[in-house]
């Protein structure tokens, strides 16, 4: 059944623009903060949210620390390691959990039919999407700040034991270093953008398994294709415009001149992907029956 349409005019054909029951003035009454509060309550009271966020933070730090610990620069060898980027390796794993959280935010409502209740109570669908985006971004930002801080701390503590010492041109990972601050802020923003991208894709696809498959495929398959594709022109294109490759350029602090895409430009590419996903998702949300 076409959920929102039945509340007012059940004779409407399925393909018609769904009718929104409440007049604009009533809609305005439950806009803004109320939507945010409603979405916050939903996400807060869902069992998995806290666990997912805690797991995101923990996994990011553990993977970063393990990677840093597994790295060795034997005495006498010349090592080219970007210590900041290395310390932030866990972000590659964190994005999967952020994507799961974002997909669940939308798809759980579709799988349980809750979405019809939501749209009956709050007919401004774009407002609902914005509310979900706002709550999700807040949560992801909070988790990401803790995760990134933990990663950098782990790098600072473990890297000297790998032989990557200041004496050999690898100063301690420190927030007094401009590019490292940029990388840290960028990594936090990266995760937030990945969350919003996943939210957009989930709104488009609606089924949780399909949506998570699509998002993770986009995040993980493109970089590996870029790594092995034989054609250098395509390799460069994928490295410049793939969401993961471009977005993670924000974590680079050395050899910036040789990057396929600059740090902020790369994050901009990811932002463009996110905007496109949210735009299409928002459009479909308005046009389709729930």
């Amino acid at each position: 059944m076409s959920g929102a349409a039945t509340t007012a005019g059940s004779e409407l054909p399925r393909s018609a623009e769904p009718h929104r029951g409440l007049p604009p003035s009533a809609g305005a009454g439950i806009a803004g903060l109320s939507i945010l509060r409603a979405e916050w309550t939903k996400l807060r009271t869902t069992g998995g949210t806290g666990w997912l966020l805690a797991a995101t933070t923990a996994l990011t730090i553990v993977i970063s620390a393990a990677t840093v610990a597994a790295t060795h620069c034997p005495a006498g060898a010349s090592c080219s390691v970007d210590t900041t980027r290395l310390s932030l390796t866990g972000i590659e794993a964190a994005q999967a959990l952020v994507a799961v959280l974002a997909v669940l935010t939308v798809c759980t409502e579709y799988s349980t039919g809750m979405i019809r209740t939501t749209f009956t109570a709050m007919p401004r669908r774009l407002g609902v999407l914005a509310g979900k985006a706002g709550v999700l971004t807040g949560l992801v930002l909070a988790a990401a700040v803790v995760a990134v801080a933990g990663c950098l701390l782990a790098g600072r503590l473990i890297l000297p034991a790998d032989g990557l010492t200041a004496a050999r041109g690898f100063p301690l990972v420190s927030l007094a270093h401009g590019p490292t601050v940029r990388a840290a802020i960028g990594a936090v923003l990266y995760l937030a953008l990945i969350g919003l991208l996943s939210l957009g894709v989930a709104t488009i696809l609606r089924d949780s398994a399909v949506a998570i498959g699509a998002v993770l495929g986009l995040l993980y398959i493109v970089p590996i294709i870029a790594a092995v594709v034989g054609n250098p022109v395509w390799q460069r294109r994928l490295e410049r415009y793939g969401p993961t490759n471009a977005g993670l350029a924000i974590e680079d602090t050395t050899g910036l001149r040789h990057l396929p895409i600059g740090p902020w430009a790369g994050l901009g590419v990811l932002a463009a992907w996110t905007a496109a996903a949210l735009l299409i998702g928002g459009l479909l949300l308005r046009l389709r029956d729930a």
Partner: protein
């Protein structure tokens, strides 16, 4: 709701049709009748094949020259073991009939290499340095003939790996360590007795140590014995700290060995003749005058002393920096197909939880372990069959396309091909069983798919894309379920050939070890799933 400790109700008696075959049939029907899943498995198999066709790797020998296509296909000689080999060296030889012994003293091994890549004709090019590549070789050799790919055994001093005995391209054993100099020379000896050749080394020419024994079949009564020098191309990796095959550059090198106390005992006839064996090993490592007129392949015989200069290599061909492909390069789509199979395997169980069908399933067949076994068997067999078939097609098509565009694919035996194809099937099937178990454990599709990606896909991406430092990547590809990608490796790594050994051609674990790692993960997850399925309410 669930109280955790209470054992769920189970029907006290079996009711009619709950034999395992019926259960298997029921699960197969559930899988077969969801049209989206059928389409998805066909797409997954199609991607495995399609990517082989769309993503050709490697490069041919022509570079950006005027020739292209099959005309550029390298023609490597084939060694006695069936592998493609490089067999180019400068040879100062005499025919030797029947059994005999050749002994020399090596007093020096020096060389030059260029670190500028490419060639520049005329005079000594810029970027030429004095020094040896690690596997520059000079020593003595007994070979069936001067035809490339012949059976041989050789004793040699090397650039930085001491004295070695090598035979038939793939075998290598170490002798005395350290370089050969006038102050500390190296004595080398090879003795032929029938089809057996024994190698010895010595620091003083009196106390000899056996280094190795080679059994060469079909050596013939007359063999060629003598001195040789060769030097493989100098390889520069863009970033040696990364575990991937980077676009490194190769440039020519050349080596000169100085010998004295040369003695050939046995039915040897005639004088020493010099000859360059091979055609320079393709275009990429021939010096073409890079090192100037004074350093050309050849030999001088002054009094007791022989000076032999040569380049090339006597070793198996490898993939990687050389631009050669292996059949593993055509299996890149397996990783993409895997992502779809993972999602399907998760949905195969979480779909039942979402729709409540699981309660009907468990009411119909209360023995929960059997239900899980039937599900695992169905999804495992489907992925194994499709995966193996898709891999077979991908390898066949990839081989045709690579040859068509002049890219050399290292030949392997049909048994190895079969192992790789069935290995892909096994990799996909075990990964699917692992994902199914995650689905039982976590019950929510998005969470289970996320977990499957985190444990299999992410380690492969991090390990094989060069995103991690070398040690971390190798560690990840040893301990994570992604270790099973080692099943795709088709040619061995040779320690005696300097190369960037990295995915997708080479993996840190042996194929069967990689399979065992994934087996362990799948078995562990299946066990936990079984335990939870029995304990929890559905």
């Amino acid at each position: 709701m669930s109280t955790g400790t209470i054992t769920p109700y189970r029907a006290p008696r079996r009711t009619g049709n709950d034999g395992f075959w019926q259960l298997l049939h029921a699960e197969w029907t559930k899988f077969r009748t969801v049209r989206g899943w059928l389409i998805a498995v066909i797409i997954a198999a199609g991607l495995i094949v399609g990517v082989a066709a769309l993503l050709p790797r490697g490069s041919n020998q022509c570079g950006s020259g005027s020739q292209s296509g099959a005309a550029c296909l390298a023609k490597y000689p084939i060694g006695p073991g069936g592998e493609a080999v490089s067999d180019s060296y400068y040879f100062v030889r005499q025919p030797l009939a029947g059994n005999g012994t050749i002994t020399v003293r090596v007093t020096s091994l020096t060389g030059m290499y260029s670190d500028q890549g490419g060639f520049q004709g005329g005079g000594q090019a810029p970027g030429v340095r004095s020094g040896l590549v690690p596997w520059a070789k000079a020593g003595i050799i007994i070979t069936q003939s001067t035809k490339q790919g012949s059976a041989y055994a050789a004793m040699m001093v090397t650039g930085s790996h001491g004295v070695r005995m090598q035979y038939n391209y793939t075998s290598d054993s170490a002798g005395l360590a350290g370089a050969a100099t006038a102050a500390s020379p190296r004595w080398l000896r090879l003795t032929r007795s029938g089809d057996t050749i024994t190698g010895y080394d010595s620091a003083d020419g009196r106390r000899w140590t056996k280094v190795g024994i080679a059994h060469l079949s079909g050596l013939g009564s007359i063999v060629q014995a003598g001195l040789f020098a060769t030097s493989p191309a100098y390889e520069q990796s863009n970033n040696p700290n990364v575990y991937s095959e980077p676009g490194g550059s190769t440039s020519p090198s050349i080596a000169t060995g100085v010998f004295d106390h040369v003695s050939l005992k046995g039915a040897a006839a005639g004088a020493w003749t010099g000859q360059f064996v091979g055609d320079g090993g393709g275009s990429s490592d021939g010096p073409n005058g890079v090192f100037g007129k004074s350093t050309q392949p050849g030999f001088r015989h002054v009094g007791e002393q022989f000076t032999v200069t040569g380049y090339g290599d006597i070793a198996p061909e490898v993939a990687g920096d050389t631009g050669n492909d292996t059949i593993s390069d055509h299996l890149f789509g397996v990783f993409i197909g895997l992502t779809i199979f993972l999602i399907l395997a998760v949905l195969f169980i979480t779909g039942e939880y979402r729709r409540g069908l699981i309660r009907t399933t468990l009411a119909a067949s209360p023995r929960r372990g059997r239900v899980l076994a039937a599900k695992a068997l169905v999804i495992g067999v489907v992925t194994f069959v499709l995966g193996t078939a898709a891999a077979a097609l991908a390898v066949t098509i990839g081989l045709q396309l690579a040859h068509g565009s002049g890219i050399y694919v290292l030949p392997v035996s049909w048994l190895t091909e079969l192992r790789v194809m069935a290995g892909v099937g096994a990799l996909l099937a075990l990964a699917a069983v692992f994902a199914l178990s995650l689905g039982v454990i976590l019950r929510r599709s998005a969470v289970a798919v996320g977990a499957a990606f985190l444990t299999i896909v992410l380690p492969y991406v991090l390990g094989a894309s060069g995103a991690l430092p070398r040690e971390a990547a190798i560690w990840l590809l040893r301990v994570s379920p992604a270790a099973a990608f080692a099943l795709e490796q088709s040619v061995p790594q040779y320690p005696q050939v300097f190369n960037q050994y990295a995915p997708p051609d080479y993996y840190p674990l042996a194929p069967w070890a990689g399979l065992a790692v994934l087996c362990a993960y799948a078995a562990g997850a299946l066990g936990l799933a079984l335990y939870l399925l029995r304990r929890r309410d559905a």
